[in-house]
Amino acid sequence: MTIKLAARIRRSALQMVYSAKASHIGSALSIADIVAVLYGNIMKLDSLNPSNPTRDRFILSKGHACVALYAALADSCFFPLSDLETYGADHSKLMNHVSHSVPGVEFSTGSLGHGLPYGVGKALGARIKKLSWRTFVLLGDGEMDEGSNWEALMFAAHHRLDNLVAIIDYNKIQSMDTVSNTLGIEPLAEKINAFGCVVKEIDGHDHNQLINAFSSYSESKPLVIIAHTVKGKGVSFMENKVEWHYKNPDDTQLALALAELEELNA
Protein backbone atom coordinates (compact mmCIF):
# COMPACT_ATOMS: atom_id res chain seq x y z
CA MET A 1 0.00 0.00 0.00
CA THR A 2 2.74 2.46 0.90
CA ILE A 3 4.57 1.47 -2.31
CA LYS A 4 1.66 2.83 -4.32
CA LEU A 5 1.52 5.96 -2.16
CA ALA A 6 5.23 6.52 -2.79
CA ALA A 7 4.60 6.22 -6.53
CA ARG A 8 1.78 8.77 -6.34
CA ILE A 9 4.01 11.12 -4.33
CA ARG A 10 6.75 10.86 -6.96
CA ARG A 11 4.30 11.49 -9.80
CA SER A 12 2.72 14.50 -8.08
CA ALA A 13 6.12 15.88 -7.10
CA LEU A 14 7.32 15.71 -10.70
CA GLN A 15 4.19 17.39 -11.99
CA MET A 16 4.37 20.16 -9.40
CA VAL A 17 8.01 20.90 -10.06
CA TYR A 18 7.40 20.80 -13.81
CA SER A 19 4.42 23.20 -13.68
CA ALA A 20 6.07 25.64 -11.30
CA LYS A 21 9.47 25.37 -13.00
CA ALA A 22 10.81 24.83 -9.49
CA SER A 23 13.94 23.22 -8.10
CA HIS A 24 14.68 20.35 -5.70
CA ILE A 25 13.01 17.43 -7.48
CA GLY A 26 16.01 15.23 -6.67
CA SER A 27 15.53 15.90 -2.95
CA ALA A 28 11.79 15.16 -3.11
CA LEU A 29 12.27 11.85 -4.96
CA SER A 30 14.89 10.92 -2.39
CA ILE A 31 12.42 11.15 0.53
CA ALA A 32 9.28 9.84 -1.22
CA ASP A 33 9.47 6.39 0.38
CA ILE A 34 10.20 7.74 3.87
CA VAL A 35 7.25 10.12 3.66
CA ALA A 36 4.98 7.44 2.18
CA VAL A 37 5.70 5.01 5.02
CA LEU A 38 5.18 7.69 7.66
CA TYR A 39 1.90 8.95 6.18
CA GLY A 40 0.64 5.63 4.90
CA ASN A 41 1.55 3.38 7.81
CA ILE A 42 3.29 4.81 10.85
CA MET A 43 1.89 8.13 11.97
CA LYS A 44 -1.37 8.85 13.77
CA LEU A 45 -3.05 11.46 11.57
CA ASP A 46 -6.33 13.33 11.57
CA SER A 47 -6.99 15.07 8.28
CA LEU A 48 -10.37 16.38 9.52
CA ASN A 49 -8.71 18.00 12.50
CA PRO A 50 -5.06 18.59 11.61
CA SER A 51 -4.35 20.01 15.08
CA ASN A 52 -5.85 17.03 16.92
CA PRO A 53 -3.74 16.98 20.11
CA THR A 54 -3.18 13.21 19.92
CA ARG A 55 -1.65 13.26 16.42
CA ASP A 56 1.95 12.41 15.76
CA ARG A 57 4.01 15.42 14.74
CA PHE A 58 6.04 15.48 11.53
CA ILE A 59 8.59 18.17 10.75
CA LEU A 60 10.23 18.40 7.36
CA SER A 61 13.47 20.12 8.23
CA LYS A 62 14.74 19.92 4.66
CA GLY A 63 11.90 22.22 3.58
CA HIS A 64 13.10 22.43 -0.01
CA ALA A 65 11.79 18.89 -0.56
CA CYS A 66 8.27 20.13 0.24
CA VAL A 67 6.55 18.77 -2.88
CA ALA A 68 6.85 15.24 -1.48
CA LEU A 69 5.11 16.32 1.74
CA TYR A 70 2.42 18.37 -0.04
CA ALA A 71 1.66 15.33 -2.20
CA ALA A 72 1.44 13.04 0.85
CA LEU A 73 -0.85 15.48 2.68
CA ALA A 74 -3.18 15.89 -0.30
CA ASP A 75 -3.21 12.13 -0.76
CA SER A 76 -4.13 11.80 2.93
CA CYS A 77 -7.06 14.22 2.42
CA PHE A 78 -5.66 17.18 4.35
CA PHE A 79 -6.60 19.34 1.36
CA PRO A 80 -7.89 18.69 -2.17
CA LEU A 81 -5.50 17.10 -4.64
CA SER A 82 -6.36 19.88 -7.06
CA ASP A 83 -4.61 22.37 -4.73
CA LEU A 84 -1.33 20.79 -5.75
CA GLU A 85 -1.75 22.48 -9.12
CA THR A 86 -1.29 25.86 -7.41
CA TYR A 87 2.18 24.94 -6.16
CA GLY A 88 4.52 27.91 -6.43
CA ALA A 89 1.85 30.22 -7.90
CA ASP A 90 1.34 33.77 -6.61
CA HIS A 91 -0.64 33.72 -3.34
CA SER A 92 -0.71 29.91 -3.20
CA LYS A 93 -0.45 28.32 0.23
CA LEU A 94 1.89 25.82 -1.35
CA MET A 95 5.07 27.83 -1.52
CA ASN A 96 8.41 26.43 -2.57
CA HIS A 97 9.59 25.70 0.95
CA VAL A 98 7.31 23.88 3.32
CA SER A 99 4.82 26.25 4.93
CA HIS A 100 2.71 25.98 8.07
CA SER A 101 -0.14 27.73 6.34
CA VAL A 102 -0.79 24.38 4.61
CA PRO A 103 -3.17 22.11 6.57
CA GLY A 104 -1.19 19.33 8.23
CA VAL A 105 2.16 21.12 8.16
CA GLU A 106 3.53 21.71 11.65
CA PHE A 107 6.42 23.98 10.89
CA SER A 108 7.78 26.13 8.09
CA THR A 109 11.37 25.52 7.15
CA GLY A 110 13.69 26.57 4.37
CA SER A 111 16.71 27.57 6.38
CA LEU A 112 18.44 24.36 7.42
CA GLY A 113 19.12 23.28 10.98
CA HIS A 114 15.82 24.51 12.41
CA GLY A 115 13.63 21.41 12.35
CA LEU A 116 15.41 19.21 14.88
CA PRO A 117 15.60 21.79 17.71
CA TYR A 118 11.92 22.59 17.11
CA GLY A 119 11.07 18.89 17.19
CA VAL A 120 13.08 18.52 20.39
CA GLY A 121 10.88 21.23 21.91
CA LYS A 122 7.74 19.38 20.84
CA ALA A 123 9.03 16.08 22.22
CA LEU A 124 9.94 17.81 25.47
CA GLY A 125 6.44 19.27 25.62
CA ALA A 126 4.89 15.81 25.22
CA ARG A 127 7.18 14.57 27.99
CA ILE A 128 6.18 17.37 30.38
CA LYS A 129 2.50 16.70 29.74
CA LYS A 130 2.98 12.91 29.80
CA LEU A 131 1.44 12.46 26.35
CA SER A 132 2.20 9.49 24.13
CA TRP A 133 2.41 10.95 20.64
CA ARG A 134 5.74 10.92 18.83
CA THR A 135 7.67 13.59 16.95
CA PHE A 136 9.33 12.71 13.62
CA VAL A 137 11.88 15.06 12.06
CA LEU A 138 13.21 14.46 8.56
CA LEU A 139 16.61 15.97 7.88
CA GLY A 140 18.95 16.14 4.92
CA ASP A 141 22.49 14.82 4.99
CA GLY A 142 23.96 18.17 3.89
CA GLU A 143 21.89 19.70 6.66
CA MET A 144 24.00 17.82 9.20
CA ASP A 145 26.66 20.50 8.56
CA GLU A 146 24.55 22.76 10.77
CA GLY A 147 25.81 22.89 14.35
CA SER A 148 22.28 23.39 15.68
CA ASN A 149 21.49 19.75 14.80
CA TRP A 150 24.32 18.51 16.96
CA GLU A 151 23.24 20.83 19.78
CA ALA A 152 19.77 19.34 19.47
CA LEU A 153 21.04 15.74 19.50
CA MET A 154 23.00 16.47 22.67
CA PHE A 155 19.94 17.93 24.35
CA ALA A 156 17.63 15.15 23.19
CA ALA A 157 19.98 12.44 24.46
CA HIS A 158 20.66 14.24 27.74
CA HIS A 159 16.93 14.53 28.39
CA ARG A 160 16.26 10.95 27.21
CA LEU A 161 13.67 11.97 24.65
CA ASP A 162 12.64 8.50 23.50
CA ASN A 163 9.53 10.02 21.89
CA LEU A 164 11.70 11.71 19.25
CA VAL A 165 12.63 10.12 15.92
CA ALA A 166 15.06 11.86 13.58
CA ILE A 167 15.46 10.51 10.05
CA ILE A 168 18.48 11.53 8.01
CA ASP A 169 17.90 11.30 4.28
CA TYR A 170 21.41 10.19 3.41
CA ASN A 171 21.50 10.47 -0.37
CA LYS A 172 25.20 11.51 -0.30
CA ILE A 173 24.67 14.64 -2.40
CA GLN A 174 24.23 18.17 -1.12
CA SER A 175 23.69 21.48 -2.83
CA MET A 176 26.85 21.79 -4.91
CA ASP A 177 28.65 18.47 -4.77
CA THR A 178 28.73 15.18 -2.93
CA VAL A 179 28.66 15.28 0.85
CA SER A 180 32.08 13.65 1.02
CA ASN A 181 33.60 16.30 -1.24
CA THR A 182 31.92 19.16 0.63
CA LEU A 183 32.21 18.57 4.35
CA GLY A 184 32.53 14.89 5.15
CA ILE A 185 30.17 13.66 7.85
CA GLU A 186 31.46 10.13 8.26
CA PRO A 187 31.51 8.15 10.44
CA LEU A 188 27.94 9.42 10.80
CA ALA A 189 26.42 6.49 12.68
CA GLU A 190 29.32 6.38 15.14
CA LYS A 191 29.07 10.11 15.78
CA ILE A 192 25.35 10.02 16.48
CA ASN A 193 25.72 6.91 18.58
CA ALA A 194 28.43 8.65 20.57
CA PHE A 195 26.01 11.52 21.17
CA GLY A 196 23.80 9.08 23.05
CA CYS A 197 21.15 8.21 20.50
CA VAL A 198 20.06 4.83 19.13
CA VAL A 199 21.04 4.61 15.48
CA LYS A 200 19.42 2.41 12.84
CA GLU A 201 20.96 2.29 9.37
CA ILE A 202 18.59 1.14 6.68
CA ASP A 203 17.82 1.30 2.98
CA GLY A 204 15.59 4.36 2.84
CA HIS A 205 13.70 3.02 -0.18
CA ASP A 206 12.84 -0.37 1.38
CA HIS A 207 9.42 -0.01 2.96
CA ASN A 208 9.75 -3.05 5.22
CA GLN A 209 13.02 -1.76 6.62
CA LEU A 210 11.46 1.67 7.11
CA ILE A 211 8.45 0.21 8.93
CA ASN A 212 10.67 -1.89 11.17
CA ALA A 213 12.92 1.04 12.00
CA PHE A 214 10.01 3.37 12.77
CA SER A 215 8.40 0.70 14.93
CA SER A 216 11.46 0.16 17.08
CA TYR A 217 11.81 1.82 20.43
CA SER A 218 14.58 2.09 22.99
CA GLU A 219 13.63 3.34 26.39
CA SER A 220 15.28 6.63 27.35
CA LYS A 221 17.01 7.18 24.03
CA PRO A 222 16.13 9.23 20.97
CA LEU A 223 16.02 7.23 17.76
CA VAL A 224 17.99 8.36 14.73
CA ILE A 225 17.38 6.53 11.48
CA ILE A 226 20.07 6.92 8.86
CA ALA A 227 18.17 6.20 5.67
CA HIS A 228 20.53 5.44 2.81
CA THR A 229 18.82 6.86 -0.25
CA VAL A 230 19.41 7.84 -3.84
CA LYS A 231 18.89 11.43 -4.82
CA GLY A 232 16.40 11.50 -7.70
CA LYS A 233 15.29 7.93 -6.93
CA GLY A 234 12.94 6.39 -9.50
CA VAL A 235 13.92 8.48 -12.51
CA SER A 236 17.08 7.06 -14.03
CA PHE A 237 18.43 10.26 -15.55
CA MET A 238 17.93 12.17 -12.29
CA GLU A 239 19.50 9.63 -9.97
CA ASN A 240 22.72 10.69 -8.25
CA LYS A 241 23.00 13.89 -10.26
CA VAL A 242 23.81 17.14 -8.44
CA GLU A 243 22.14 19.14 -11.23
CA TRP A 244 18.69 17.81 -10.32
CA HIS A 245 18.91 19.72 -7.08
CA TYR A 246 18.15 22.73 -9.28
CA LYS A 247 16.78 21.76 -12.68
CA ASN A 248 13.16 21.23 -13.56
CA PRO A 249 12.15 18.81 -16.29
CA ASP A 250 11.07 19.99 -19.74
CA ASP A 251 8.13 18.37 -21.57
CA THR A 252 10.16 15.46 -22.92
CA GLN A 253 11.91 14.81 -19.62
CA LEU A 254 8.61 14.90 -17.72
CA ALA A 255 7.04 12.37 -20.08
CA LEU A 256 10.09 10.14 -19.83
CA ALA A 257 10.16 10.41 -16.03
CA LEU A 258 6.45 9.62 -15.65
CA ALA A 259 6.82 6.65 -18.01
CA GLU A 260 9.73 5.31 -15.95
CA LEU A 261 7.69 5.61 -12.77
CA GLU A 262 4.78 3.84 -14.45
CA GLU A 263 7.06 1.02 -15.44
CA LEU A 264 8.57 0.80 -11.97
CA ASN A 265 5.14 0.63 -10.44
CA ALA A 266 3.81 -2.01 -12.84
Binding site: H114, S148, E151
Partner: protein
Amino acid sequence: MRNTFINKLISAAEVNDNIVLVVGDLGYSVVEPFANRFPNRFFNAGVAEQNMMGLCAGLASEGFHVFVYSIANFPTFRCAEQIRNDVVYHNNNVTIVSVGGGLAYGNLGYSHHAIQDYALLRSMPGMLIASPGDPNEVNASITYLLQNPQPSYLRIGKAGEPNIHKGIPLVKPGKWIKILRGSNRKTLLCTGATMELALSWIKGSAKYADYSLYSLPLWGMQYKHMQAVQVMEWESVVTVEDHLVDGGFGSWMLESLINHSDLIARVSIKALDSIVCSMVGKQKMLNEAGGLIV
Protein backbone atom coordinates in the same frame (compact mmCIF):
# COMPACT_ATOMS: atom_id res chain seq x y z
CA MET B 1 14.71 44.00 38.09
CA ARG B 2 16.16 40.47 37.94
CA ASN B 3 14.65 39.50 41.24
CA THR B 4 11.30 41.05 40.44
CA PHE B 5 11.32 39.01 37.26
CA ILE B 6 11.98 35.66 38.91
CA ASN B 7 9.59 36.25 41.81
CA LYS B 8 6.83 37.30 39.47
CA LEU B 9 7.48 34.27 37.26
CA ILE B 10 7.30 31.91 40.22
CA SER B 11 3.97 33.39 41.35
CA ALA B 12 2.60 33.01 37.84
CA ALA B 13 3.88 29.43 37.50
CA GLU B 14 2.13 28.48 40.74
CA VAL B 15 -1.20 28.92 39.01
CA ASN B 16 -0.26 28.25 35.39
CA ASP B 17 1.16 24.81 34.54
CA ASN B 18 2.12 25.97 31.08
CA ILE B 19 4.87 28.32 32.20
CA VAL B 20 8.32 26.93 31.46
CA LEU B 21 11.70 28.53 32.13
CA VAL B 22 14.65 27.70 29.89
CA VAL B 23 18.10 29.18 30.50
CA GLY B 24 21.26 29.22 28.45
CA ASP B 25 23.55 28.16 31.29
CA LEU B 26 23.19 31.59 32.88
CA GLY B 27 21.20 32.90 35.80
CA TYR B 28 23.30 31.60 38.68
CA SER B 29 21.85 32.79 42.01
CA VAL B 30 18.77 34.16 40.22
CA VAL B 31 16.80 31.27 38.72
CA GLU B 32 17.32 28.62 41.42
CA PRO B 33 14.07 29.37 43.29
CA PHE B 34 12.12 28.60 40.11
CA ALA B 35 14.22 25.52 39.32
CA ASN B 36 13.75 24.16 42.82
CA ARG B 37 10.04 24.84 42.92
CA PHE B 38 9.28 23.54 39.40
CA PRO B 39 11.99 21.04 38.45
CA ASN B 40 9.86 19.60 35.63
CA ARG B 41 9.41 22.99 34.04
CA PHE B 42 12.97 24.25 34.25
CA PHE B 43 15.63 23.39 31.67
CA ASN B 44 19.19 24.51 31.30
CA ALA B 45 19.80 24.15 27.57
CA GLY B 46 23.52 24.52 28.05
CA VAL B 47 25.72 26.84 26.02
CA ALA B 48 23.87 26.17 22.78
CA GLU B 49 21.62 29.09 21.96
CA GLN B 50 20.42 28.01 18.52
CA ASN B 51 18.99 24.78 19.87
CA MET B 52 17.76 26.63 22.95
CA MET B 53 15.67 29.08 20.97
CA GLY B 54 14.44 26.44 18.51
CA LEU B 55 13.28 24.12 21.26
CA CYS B 56 11.60 27.01 23.09
CA ALA B 57 9.61 27.71 19.93
CA GLY B 58 8.73 24.01 19.65
CA LEU B 59 7.62 23.90 23.28
CA ALA B 60 5.52 27.01 22.80
CA SER B 61 3.87 25.41 19.76
CA GLU B 62 2.51 22.80 22.18
CA GLY B 63 0.77 25.35 24.37
CA PHE B 64 3.50 26.43 26.76
CA HIS B 65 4.47 30.01 27.57
CA VAL B 66 8.22 29.71 27.46
CA PHE B 67 10.48 32.23 29.16
CA VAL B 68 14.01 31.87 27.84
CA TYR B 69 16.61 33.59 29.96
CA SER B 70 20.17 34.55 29.24
CA ILE B 71 22.31 37.66 29.24
CA ALA B 72 23.16 40.43 26.84
CA ASN B 73 23.36 39.28 23.19
CA PHE B 74 23.31 35.52 23.73
CA PRO B 75 19.52 34.97 23.53
CA THR B 76 19.17 37.46 20.66
CA PHE B 77 21.98 37.85 18.15
CA ARG B 78 23.41 34.35 18.67
CA CYS B 79 20.10 32.80 17.66
CA ALA B 80 18.60 35.60 15.60
CA GLU B 81 17.31 33.37 12.82
CA GLN B 82 15.62 31.01 15.27
CA ILE B 83 13.83 34.04 16.74
CA ARG B 84 12.89 35.29 13.29
CA ASN B 85 11.70 32.00 11.78
CA ASP B 86 10.79 29.67 14.63
CA VAL B 87 9.40 32.09 17.20
CA VAL B 88 8.05 35.16 15.44
CA TYR B 89 7.01 33.80 12.03
CA HIS B 90 5.07 31.04 13.77
CA ASN B 91 3.68 33.44 16.37
CA ASN B 92 4.92 31.23 19.18
CA ASN B 93 4.45 32.35 22.77
CA VAL B 94 8.09 32.74 23.71
CA THR B 95 9.33 35.56 25.93
CA ILE B 96 13.03 36.14 25.42
CA VAL B 97 14.47 37.55 28.61
CA SER B 98 17.78 39.31 28.33
CA VAL B 99 19.46 40.53 31.46
CA GLY B 100 22.05 43.25 31.30
CA GLY B 101 20.36 45.41 28.69
CA GLY B 102 22.37 48.39 27.51
CA LEU B 103 25.78 48.70 29.13
CA ALA B 104 24.95 47.01 32.45
CA TYR B 105 27.83 44.60 31.80
CA GLY B 106 30.08 47.39 30.60
CA ASN B 107 33.26 46.02 32.18
CA LEU B 108 32.84 42.70 30.41
CA GLY B 109 33.50 44.21 27.02
CA TYR B 110 31.82 44.52 23.66
CA SER B 111 30.58 40.93 23.62
CA HIS B 112 28.37 41.83 26.59
CA HIS B 113 27.19 45.26 25.44
CA ALA B 114 23.52 44.89 24.52
CA ILE B 115 23.19 48.09 22.57
CA GLN B 116 21.91 46.82 19.22
CA ASP B 117 19.18 44.50 20.45
CA TYR B 118 16.25 46.84 19.78
CA ALA B 119 17.44 47.15 16.19
CA LEU B 120 17.36 43.40 15.70
CA LEU B 121 14.10 42.67 17.48
CA ARG B 122 12.05 45.60 16.35
CA SER B 123 12.68 44.59 12.74
CA MET B 124 10.52 41.51 13.24
CA PRO B 125 6.81 41.94 12.55
CA GLY B 126 4.79 40.69 15.52
CA MET B 127 7.55 41.01 18.10
CA LEU B 128 6.55 42.96 21.20
CA ILE B 129 9.43 44.70 22.94
CA ALA B 130 9.12 45.05 26.70
CA SER B 131 11.83 47.31 28.09
CA PRO B 132 10.73 48.24 31.60
CA GLY B 133 12.52 50.99 33.45
CA ASP B 134 12.04 49.96 37.06
CA PRO B 135 10.92 46.88 39.01
CA ASN B 136 7.29 48.07 39.01
CA GLU B 137 7.34 48.21 35.23
CA VAL B 138 8.90 44.72 35.14
CA ASN B 139 5.99 43.49 37.20
CA ALA B 140 3.42 45.22 35.00
CA SER B 141 5.09 44.08 31.78
CA ILE B 142 5.12 40.43 32.83
CA THR B 143 1.45 40.63 33.81
CA TYR B 144 0.71 41.96 30.34
CA LEU B 145 2.77 39.24 28.63
CA LEU B 146 1.07 36.50 30.62
CA GLN B 147 -2.34 37.77 29.59
CA ASN B 148 -1.43 38.39 25.95
CA PRO B 149 0.42 35.39 24.46
CA GLN B 150 2.74 36.46 21.66
CA PRO B 151 6.43 36.56 20.76
CA SER B 152 8.08 39.07 23.06
CA TYR B 153 11.43 40.41 24.16
CA LEU B 154 11.83 41.39 27.79
CA ARG B 155 14.95 43.47 28.29
CA ILE B 156 15.87 44.01 31.89
CA GLY B 157 18.80 45.58 33.70
CA LYS B 158 20.68 43.75 36.40
CA ALA B 159 19.83 44.20 40.02
CA GLY B 160 19.33 47.02 42.44
CA GLU B 161 17.41 49.44 40.25
CA PRO B 162 15.11 51.62 42.40
CA ASN B 163 11.37 51.77 41.97
CA ILE B 164 10.43 55.06 40.41
CA HIS B 165 6.76 54.46 39.75
CA LYS B 166 4.91 54.76 43.05
CA GLY B 167 2.93 51.61 42.36
CA ILE B 168 2.58 49.05 39.62
CA PRO B 169 1.51 51.06 36.57
CA LEU B 170 -1.06 50.02 34.03
CA VAL B 171 0.85 49.25 30.83
CA LYS B 172 -0.44 49.05 27.30
CA PRO B 173 1.67 48.60 24.16
CA GLY B 174 2.44 51.88 22.46
CA LYS B 175 1.03 53.99 25.30
CA TRP B 176 3.28 56.38 27.20
CA ILE B 177 3.08 56.25 30.99
CA LYS B 178 3.32 59.42 33.07
CA ILE B 179 5.98 59.45 35.76
CA LEU B 180 6.35 63.16 36.44
CA ARG B 181 4.49 66.17 35.12
CA GLY B 182 6.61 69.31 34.54
CA SER B 183 5.51 72.87 34.04
CA ASN B 184 6.13 73.21 30.30
CA ARG B 185 5.08 71.27 27.21
CA LYS B 186 8.31 69.38 26.89
CA THR B 187 8.95 65.83 27.97
CA LEU B 188 11.57 63.18 28.24
CA LEU B 189 10.34 59.79 27.04
CA CYS B 190 12.48 56.95 28.30
CA THR B 191 12.50 53.24 27.69
CA GLY B 192 14.51 50.55 29.41
CA ALA B 193 16.87 51.12 32.28
CA THR B 194 17.40 54.81 31.50
CA MET B 195 14.42 55.81 33.65
CA GLU B 196 16.51 56.63 36.69
CA LEU B 197 18.99 58.56 34.55
CA ALA B 198 16.26 60.59 32.87
CA LEU B 199 14.74 61.42 36.23
CA SER B 200 18.13 62.59 37.49
CA TRP B 201 18.40 64.98 34.54
CA ILE B 202 15.09 66.58 35.45
CA LYS B 203 15.96 66.82 39.11
CA GLY B 204 19.57 67.84 38.65
CA SER B 205 19.88 70.05 35.58
CA ALA B 206 18.61 73.44 34.59
CA LYS B 207 18.14 72.30 31.02
CA TYR B 208 15.47 69.72 31.83
CA ALA B 209 14.18 71.15 35.13
CA ASP B 210 10.71 71.91 33.78
CA TYR B 211 10.36 68.78 31.67
CA SER B 212 7.86 66.01 32.23
CA LEU B 213 8.95 62.39 32.33
CA TYR B 214 7.12 59.59 30.57
CA SER B 215 8.14 56.05 29.86
CA LEU B 216 7.18 53.62 27.14
CA PRO B 217 7.92 50.07 28.30
CA LEU B 218 5.90 48.15 25.68
CA TRP B 219 6.48 48.95 22.03
CA GLY B 220 7.29 47.48 18.63
CA MET B 221 6.61 47.71 14.92
CA GLN B 222 2.87 47.23 15.28
CA TYR B 223 2.44 50.21 17.65
CA LYS B 224 3.96 52.96 15.54
CA HIS B 225 0.53 54.19 14.52
CA MET B 226 -0.16 55.23 18.14
CA GLN B 227 2.75 57.64 18.42
CA ALA B 228 1.84 60.71 16.36
CA VAL B 229 -1.18 61.53 18.47
CA GLN B 230 0.93 61.39 21.62
CA VAL B 231 3.82 63.42 20.19
CA MET B 232 1.27 66.04 19.09
CA GLU B 233 0.60 66.92 22.73
CA TRP B 234 4.12 68.24 23.18
CA GLU B 235 6.34 71.02 21.89
CA SER B 236 9.33 68.81 22.37
CA VAL B 237 9.87 65.11 23.02
CA VAL B 238 13.32 63.85 23.90
CA THR B 239 13.63 60.08 23.71
CA VAL B 240 16.10 58.46 26.10
CA GLU B 241 17.56 54.97 25.66
CA ASP B 242 20.74 53.01 26.32
CA HIS B 243 21.04 51.68 22.79
CA LEU B 244 22.80 52.92 19.68
CA VAL B 245 20.93 55.60 17.75
CA ASP B 246 20.88 53.28 14.75
CA GLY B 247 17.86 51.05 14.89
CA GLY B 248 16.97 52.17 18.39
CA PHE B 249 13.94 53.53 20.20
CA GLY B 250 14.31 57.15 19.08
CA SER B 251 14.76 55.99 15.50
CA TRP B 252 11.60 53.94 15.89
CA MET B 253 9.79 57.04 17.09
CA LEU B 254 10.97 59.05 14.08
CA GLU B 255 9.91 56.23 11.75
CA SER B 256 6.49 56.29 13.36
CA LEU B 257 6.17 59.95 12.32
CA ILE B 258 7.11 59.33 8.73
CA ASN B 259 3.75 60.61 7.50
CA HIS B 260 3.73 63.52 9.95
CA SER B 261 6.58 65.72 8.78
CA ASP B 262 5.33 68.56 11.00
CA LEU B 263 5.94 66.44 14.10
CA ILE B 264 9.34 65.04 13.25
CA ALA B 265 11.14 68.23 14.27
CA ARG B 266 9.63 67.99 17.74
CA VAL B 267 11.51 64.80 18.49
CA SER B 268 15.14 64.58 19.44
CA ILE B 269 17.09 61.53 20.49
CA LYS B 270 19.32 60.85 23.45
CA ALA B 271 20.96 57.54 22.66
CA LEU B 272 24.42 56.04 22.54
CA ASP B 273 27.08 56.99 20.07
CA SER B 274 28.95 54.05 18.53
CA ILE B 275 32.12 55.32 20.18
CA VAL B 276 31.19 53.16 23.18
CA CYS B 277 31.64 50.01 21.09
CA SER B 278 35.40 50.26 21.49
CA MET B 279 35.29 51.17 25.18
CA VAL B 280 35.18 49.12 28.35
CA GLY B 281 34.18 50.32 31.78
CA LYS B 282 31.40 50.81 34.24
CA GLN B 283 27.89 51.45 32.98
CA LYS B 284 27.81 55.05 34.22
CA MET B 285 31.07 55.99 32.55
CA LEU B 286 30.11 54.32 29.28
CA ASN B 287 26.66 55.90 29.21
CA GLU B 288 28.23 59.32 29.68
CA ALA B 289 30.92 58.65 27.10
CA GLY B 290 28.22 57.50 24.70
CA GLY B 291 26.33 60.76 25.09
CA LEU B 292 23.78 60.05 27.81
CA ILE B 293 24.56 63.28 29.63
CA VAL B 294 22.83 66.63 29.87
